[in-house]
Amino acid sequence: MTPLLRFLGGISIFAGVFFSFAAVVAILRFPDVYTRLHGGTKALSGGAILILLGAMPYAGGIAGALKLFLIAVFFLVSNPMASHAIARACHRRALANRPIDEKRRGDV
């Protein structure tokens, strides 16, 4: 039972790493603020939760697995809330349809 669970956990961690990598690619390559936010947070939520659930068979006993599950629930509640706050702040400042200036020299 436990080797099977560990194998499934390993697959879940690999899938989570792939989703997190997809989130990074989304943030780097999408053209607009909203698409970047959408791709980033969707993929990042899924990736992080898959990693946390996949680490559950490797934790020490049932107590550690339950703690990881609670962390995953907390992450599921709070990450979409944070990206909603960012998107609403962008909307309030009317950042829609403005292309992101890649060459802007930041303040030194």
């Binding site: 907390f74 709070s78 809330m81 309030r92 930041g106 303040d107 030194v108």
Partner: protein, 331 residues
Amino acid sequence: MSEPLLAFLYFFILLTAVVAVLLDDLLSSFISLSVTGVLMATVFALFRAPDVALTQAIINSGLVTSLFLVAYSQTQRTPSPAGECRECPFWLRWPGAALVSSLFAAVLFRGLYVLSGDRIPGSTSAHYLSQTLEETGALNVVAAILLDYRAFDTLGETTVIFTAVFGISLLLSGGKYVHSGHGLSFIVKRGMALLTPFILLYAASILFLGHLTPGGGFQGGSVFATVAILICVVYGTNFEAARISPKSKETFEAGGAMLFVFIGLLGIAWGGGFLANLSGPFPAGTPGSLFSGGNMLLLNLAVGMKVGAGLSSIFYTMIKILELEDDSWPS
């Protein structure tokens, strides 16, 4: 612990540090610095230091970044034309600095290389590891060192926190209170209302179980300050000041320091010396239960009150003169 994993983490620590140094955009460089902090917390956890990893992750990656964001939003930065020293000759700019730093790194590494033999802990540390249970009744050796063997240093540390709060309040006083925000949207407010009791419970468990598990007054107090910061950001500064007034924060901070000193004076009154633990009037209790370790529970509470109230009043002092641009959006 595997060496390739450690090498991987060290490489990324150095990479994010280089990114934080060389980037022009301030926001990105501080985000990179907080990533460095999280990676260092991971390295600390790999080096079997759970207390230190918890403190590093909470304070250096969370609290310092939020303080930077407040300072960043409060300053007006005009981009300077050159970005480097305008009056210095060429060799005093980054080539000179790079030369000095690399010389320093070489000398430091040569000096540290001598220490890389077999590590034998000193007799003090061996004494702490073997005698903590009998002499203090606590299970967390680091907490026993901080609150029993070297509790006087912890009193000095709370004095440093007090000095920082004092200095910041003095520097940023006299400003007009311009605006308070309405906070974020309804979704975030309800979500925060759902999460806040659990975060407070987590903070209390770190604080009160500090003598049994990794944690203690500093970490628990910082998480309490984080809750105050979250309420400030999500609900608006007026709401937070109405719920937890600055006067009550000052009272909590002073109360924490006074509780610490009062416990120390109780030790003197009992004849055991300042901040005496088991040779004072405090019972040892059964090891592993909540009421064990003598006065460490009360000292943790005092330190937590001090740190939590101090850090949240630092944040409130820095943010209360924040001007908001468009305040008329209904929440």
